[in-house]
Symmetry: D2
């Protein structure tokens, strides 16, 4: 269903030409003439119709899609909340799930130390990058498979699950061997090749919002994955790009309750990448839980000043512990548990 | 203190010309030559120096200000938190202060009903617009002085204080007669004429962040007011403009802890204007408190569907009551009271 | 005329309640039921209706205004182009009009030198700020009336007209005494008090686009002025605020042909403030003319490195001369003259 | 070379700790103490140092990189302009190069008709998508290899070269068989896997700017490709995402002269995707040429209202012809040829 507003100056010929075309495409139309404008309603299943296509016709001023462009991810399609089960950890249920760990995997002893620090303080899922998307080709690009092994070991020893980013479709099998959740980073949110391939995986996926992605585009990216069969999709808000540059990005927390309204998928918040400054991470983590997030992903490092990437936003284990105490209280305040 | 990076291609003549000029202005310079670039440090009180001015010289690549451009609003200048006392209500102290009321003042009975509804549920300050900044000249522009009278009466009957917006310097005295806090709206944050005039008022001021204002510009706007003598400035985050249009604006909650770090001024959050959708107001109010806000400003209406402006974002009294219950619990979780 | 899309989950009661309300407001409705959604059309003169108001009703998903919210500024209302006549200089006609001068007025000899330099090279209108909107209260705020006198004198001696910014409604009469065109700066585009007051002036006005103003808001600001009776409005694009910070703002040149389509008002481009870097001014001035702008406003200074404000973006007289040569050729290429 | 500004409250211990660390990393430091702040300069080849890393240290307020993070793409490294030779068509030289064709390849007769229409009017390079990045999984995704064959044939018959998008590293060889220029779309600008792989190809590459990419990130993406050995990189500005939604994106033309200053690579402008509206394409194409672009990429369709994607922004052949006439004149005005 779609609505087309004609220009005031549109001629009868232009309107008729458009009506004929729409009928030829197999849709019914409904004409409505106001004081000085004509509005055409298109009736019928319109998934295949595109808003902008109608702007190509002479005399058209504006077009509005009545139906949402996504389906499987929507609440209307699936009224129950989706709960993603990762080896018994339920994401999207009663519990707030904590994902923590270093930005990138540097070496075995450090990762082990961090894993113990976060696991003992309540994190269920260990994060860490083995393949890193870096703005500069001269930055550390990650340890690759060696990193995956270290991460798996550290998680196994501390009874955690593993989440790690996949950047290259050719490494899907490799990463599936080590990870419990595949992460799609913000820079790849619109890498449709990757989305489709991951959609055919059996592993849960966490999809990060692109830096310039609207709510609707974010949900459509999840639709790409789900339309290929993978139903275990977790969304993650990590900040959008705005004119404000004191923080690394602008954390858009209103998207949390908005996604809960429009979709059944769980939503996690990453305050580390969003803010880029350590002292802002805990307040934003608490705010995310208060806003209704299903979990938090934070970077933790035992020696941030030595971290090979993003040390400035990594919490120290003690700070992480304090954050967990407050997360617990806020969770209760909004009827959740950790 | 300022640092100037010269282009790799800068000539000795260009560097010397710049050094001579800086010395003539009364500053000392410090030259430092790297592998392939020259860096000039300017030493001395540099408030009068402007970053962009140096880009006018040939051979200059980049300029960085070392000192912050604001002073009175900064933590360094005034390490203690500022607490603004509005007839006994302390803003910026231990208590989370709630400001509530209709978007615009429509008529006496409605405002009275709303005032009772919010006062009985914990609001200390009654909001309401008598002069409204409206994007369209054909929208309702407010009742003017008649509205101020209604607002004052409603506040007096319910033991609340009054906050209302001032848009026109010529109405300052008029509005001072009725209001306890003068509000400067987002559209006027960079109306320097208004800022200076308000700076000479004895009344507390609440300054809303402009839709495209950086953190630094926001603090500089407060500096305008304070530099004229008015020390009772309250800041208010109400969302910035981004590409995301599902919400009216994007609420930038990270600014709350950031302002607490950089400044001593109290900071309030307005989730109603930021989101523009009723169902998002309460989650964002709770998130704001969790992030450390000193108060919340929300729109409440007894019959939002009849409201002359912004009804879509107004809470019903019962919803406001529920919000207050949760605000109470979250406040405790972060060591505050309501 | 307005279109309301109901949620898929909207009940018959919600739809009926809304229909009753719309009828009570004096509008006719038109109901259209698709596969799974109901759409309500509101018929009748809807200037008083506000889109967001309908979001306040239960069951409403989305609202679209069919008619544009502005009238007097629109092409439909006034199909002929408006030509603003400033002492014989026609803005919006066949000629590309050049406004040039210093950012702020510093002293008589400098302004005189600059006026001669730009007049002799083809500028018709002399710009210069006597009252300056400055982000910091510690920056130079302008010479005030003394500056206006200098500007007037310089313009008279060189047969130019004067454009200067008005920031404070209380100075309207004062500035009218000296200026031929009143300029409303970007920071005051949504200062509705100022817009209305200027709307009652007999002087031509140049309205700069706000840094975060949409095309529609820009036109509505012009509507404010025109609805008070002043028909001599010139628009000015000077860049919008985005994440890109290499340039001071992002010049949105597509707004030039868009405004020509939607409105009858002339549109000028200011590449100096938009870019903030001297070497980008000329290419952007040429691009503006190629895009169809009715004029260019640029900052010129005989000694930019000494300028009290914005020297980095001021052209030298020789550069201005070179720019004028190219503007001439590009103007011819798009069927205009200078 | 990097400059670190310490907080006013930084202790001697914090400063010393940082100095020791920097020395241990093999860099020399230079200390400079102002009225109330300490500034540390780091001397030595600092490519491996990251700005944000230093924010992880206690007492650090701000960090500034003195050297640009990119090298091979910079003018300093390679002062001569790069001219990319595509079968004799020189991109980045004296000629403005025109790339034109349909958005996506639909069928043989249509592509052939379009190819003839654009070739006869001056286009040298035929564009067309065989694999399409689409926001919705339900939109037409392209004809795949069948599309590539059609495109190649149409180009061969009309003596044009072929440019087409590559989205999936696994199709590199396939696409190399048909294309003369590989295009990386805006959504994949930060798909570093793809950038590196393309960097090892022998084919020229056109890299489109990401919708939220800064100038620096855009150049760093090009650096990724060049650092793998592929020197034939063409940049393409196609609009960034802002709050303005009348146009599809906001075309940032100031990036054209900025890139010419900072880099030696050629830069093309795509006004079709940037504006999304047919009537804005020609004015923006002319503006791009006036701003100094090395070429224009536009969508042309013989029957835009039937186009399977993006018809609204496609020019008709006659409009393309008119655009070419004006491009010719503007090109001459800025000292170029077509």
């Amino acid at each position: 269903m779609m609505i087309i507003v004609m220009k005031q100056t549109a001629t009868k010929e232009q309107i008729d030409a458009l009506l004929r075309k729409i009928k030829r495409w197999g849709f019914e139309t409904h004409l409505s003439t106001g004081e000085n404008k004509t509005v055409i309603g298109i009736i019928g299943k319109g998934e295949s119709l595109q808003e902008r296509a109608f702007l190509a016709f002479e005399g058209v001023e504006n077009v509005m899609q009545v139906n949402k462009p996504y389906k499987i991810v929507s609440r209307e399609f699936h009224p129950e909340k989706t709960i993603v089960d990762v080896k018994g950890t339920k994401i999207g249920g009663q519990d707030i799930v904590i994902m923590a760990g270093p930005c990138s995997i540097e070496n075995r002893p450090t990762v082990m130390k961090i894993a113990k620090a976060v696991s003992s303080r309540g994190a269920a899922i260990l994060r860490g990058g083995a393949f890193k998307p870096r703005t500069s080709p001269y930055s550390f690009q990650g340890l690759g498979e060696e990193g995956l092994k270290i991460l798996r070991e550290a998680a196994d020893e501390t009874n955690m699950s593993v989440i790690t980013e996949i950047m290259d479709v050719r490494y899907l099998e490799l990463i599936e061997n080590y990870a419990d959740i595949l992460q799609i980073g913000a820079r790849n949110m619109a890498n449709f090749t990757l989305l489709k391939e991951i959609g055919r995986s059996k592993k849960p996926v966490m999809l990060k919002r692109g830096m310039a992605a609207t709510l609707q585009e974010f949900l459509l990216a999840a639709e790409y994955i789900m339309s290929e069969g993978n139903e275990n999709v977790i969304l993650c808000e990590r900040g959008v790009r705005t004119f404000e540059q004191y923080t690394r990005n602008t954390l858009d927390l209103a998207i949390v309750p908005a996604i809960k309204e429009l979709s059944h998928l769980p939503i996690i918040v990453d305050p580390s990448h969003a803010t880029g400054r350590r002292y802002l991470v805990t307040p934003m983590a608490l705010a995310a839980v208060a806003a209704g997030a299903d979990g938090i992903m934070v970077e933790v490092h035992t020696n941030p000043a030595e971290a090979l990437s993003d040390g400035a936003q990594a919490l120290l284990p003690e700070d992480f512990g304090k954050m967990m105490n407050s997360v617990n209280i806020i969770a209760k305040a909004v009827g959740r548990t950790v």
